[in-house]
């Protein structure tokens, strides 16, 4: 049982506050993805869990045991580093077996575990090579195998696929998820790639400027962003936003149209995903600017009431720049945000 609990963790580098009061619980055997833009503190949080960095305040618990004062090796974790950190002077075999050797396991046990994990990662034919003789993808597999060979309770991964080309990345994504699902480990996976996050995670923690703004299942993060930042960050193209003024009980004026919304009496922001709109007789008037046929669908970048607005439409439609489209938002997909606090409004 390796539940990870992060309690009120904050980190300060000199006068720079890299993490603010992080609270997060990761369930046993869960695959948690930390997602956020570059510099938001993902690596810092991961390194605090690993023990490579010390938090300024707060506690880290793994499996019901407070571990934040322990050295990395006593925390029951293994890590896959962003640049792999596959030791160049050791063969693949010795790399995978490095942690086992440090634990002074007998030779035959080391051999058994190295061979088993190498097989799992499909690198058994590379065992006698040095890292200089491996491709990026192979090196990445070695880094994962080295972590898995430890049979850790927790595996921490810092953007392990970021250096791979798109195709290999997709392949490794599926493979990694499969391997980890079988291994009963709790995984924390750092990435800034939302596709990777959506496709691999049991749960995603979206980070922004040193805070976790939402921790939820991929579909929930996508459908019900807790904050405007999440709505604008997740999804490609991201959500559209328009200012909305209340005109009566649950009635809102958005770009000259009246829509149903929450029963509040202050300005809000209306938000809709580009794919959640259909061409209709009544709706938002959008003047098409750029039309991009993407095969599966048509991406139209338009202007609604002077605001940039994107719509993903059926690829059979004929739209040219300059056309005025009438877009009807699917009612149950409309979201509302408070323009001051940026929180979602029910």
């Amino acid at each position: 049982m390796a539940v990870i609990e992060i309690k009120n963790v904050a980190k300060r580098f000199g006068s720079y506050q890299a993490l603010h009061d992080i609270n997060l619980t990761i369930d046993d055997q869960e695959f948690m993805v930390l997602l956020g833009a570059s510099g938001c503190g993902k690596s810092t949080l991961l390194r605090i869990i690993a023990g490579l960095e010390t938090q300024t305040t707060g506690e880290v618990w793994i499996g019901g045991r407070r571990i934040d004062h322990l050295p990395p090796k006593d925390r029951g974790i293994a890590m896959v580093f962003q640049n792999y950190a596959v030791f160049p002077h050791l063969t693949v075999f010795e790399n995978i077996g490095f942690g086992l050797r440090m634990q002074k396991l007998p030779n035959d046990e080391v051999k058994r575990r190295v061979e088993r994990t190498a097989e799992l990662m499909h690198i058994e034919q590379l065992l006698s090579r040095y890292s200089g003789e491996l491709s990026g993808g192979q090196r990445q597999r070695v880094a994962v195998a080295r972590a898995l060979a430890m049979e850790p309770d927790v595996i921490l991964m810092d953007e392990p696929l970021s250096n791979l080309d798109a195709l290999l990345r997709m392949e490794m994504r599926a493979e990694l998820k499969g391997v980890l699902a079988e291994s009963n480990t709790t995984a924390i996976y750092v990435t800034h790639d939302q596709v990777e996050a959506m496709s691999m995670a049991d749960r995603i923690s979206v980070m922004h400027e040193g805070r976790i703004v939402q921790a939820a299942s991929p579909i929930e993060v996508y459908r019900d962003p807790a904050e405007r930042f999440v709505a604008g960050f997740i999804g490609n193209p991201p959500m559209n936003f328009l200012p909305a003024e209340p005109t009566g009980a649950g009635q809102w004026r958005v770009a000259g149209q009246t829509l149903k919304g929450p029963d509040l009496n202050r300005p809000l922001e209306f938000a809709i995903r580009p794919e959640d709109m259909t061409l209709s007789d009544a709706g938002l008037k959008a003047k098409a600017k750029v039309v991009e046929p993407l095969g599966a669908h048509l991406l139209v970048t338009a202007e609604v009431d002077g605001t940039l607005f994107r719509a993903v439409l059926d690829s059979d439609l004929k739209v040219s720049p300059g056309d005025v489209l009438t877009l009807a938002p699917t009612p149950d997909r409309i979201r509302w945000f408070d323009p001051k606090s940026h929180h979602a409004v029910q």
């Binding site: 690993a50 023990g51 490579l52 050295p71 990395p72 090796k73 974790i77 293994a78 890590m79 580093f81 962003q82 640049n83 950190a85 030791f87 160049p88 002077h89 050791l90 490095f98 942690g99 440090m102 634990q103 090579r129 040095y130 890292s131 200089g132 003789e133 080295r146 430890m150």
Partner: protein, 281 residues
Amino acid sequence: MNARYLPYLLILPVTLFLCLFFLYPFILVAQQAFYADGGWSLKNFQDVTSHWKFPISFRNTMLLAAAVVPVQLALALLMATMVTRMQKGRDLILYVWTIPLGISDLAAGIIWLAIFEQSGFLNSMMSGLGVVDRPVNFLSYQHPGIVFLAIALAEIWRATAIMLVILVAGIGLIPKEYYEAAEVFGASPWKRFTRITLPLLRPSLQTALVLRVILAFEIFAVVAALGGTLFPVLMGETYAYQFDLLNGGAAAAMALIILAISIAFTLIIMRALRVPKGATI
């Protein structure tokens, strides 16, 4: 310009320079060494190696190298690791530690002579403290151990910094991530040093050791200042052949013998510390 010839053209000036000022004199020296009694012969080599002082100076040179180089290596590694860990004042410490580099070997010998000689600092201190009643002549034939120690100390003081500088640069090239990975996978600080630093430092260790060992075989001025004729070494004998005995052929033969020893040790070091293909950082 044909791109195939460009590199050769570019190294031509250096090659010419080296041929003129290095290879040509070297050939002359070699010629001189292998030339005696109006013809080619090994007589010069036979003469110098059969001289009674040769085994002594050979042994002294080797002993000195064997005593000095390992101590310097250990010290340089220790100092380099300490400097690398330092956050503040690192450059200042490095400058201070490398000051002896700027002092010539003869000057270094004289500094240590001022410490060890009969009217030197050590004697004044010891008689001041009442340890001895009258000054002792440490650097005499009665104290061969102290002569050796004084020379070794002076050499260690003088020439450790050259290894230090090379090793500091080498350690700086090792990415921090390797240490973090080693730490996460359970390596203690000592294991991180032996399993990560040392193996990844092999190229720098090679350079530092080769340079240092060659210089150790060429030791001359420090010995001349501290030991004089009490402690014959190969380079001192070479000097004596050339300038005291005016025997250029013998001096050339000695020089070639020192060269051969240097080459042999260089090859041994390169071989012992070689990095397998594909195993570089």
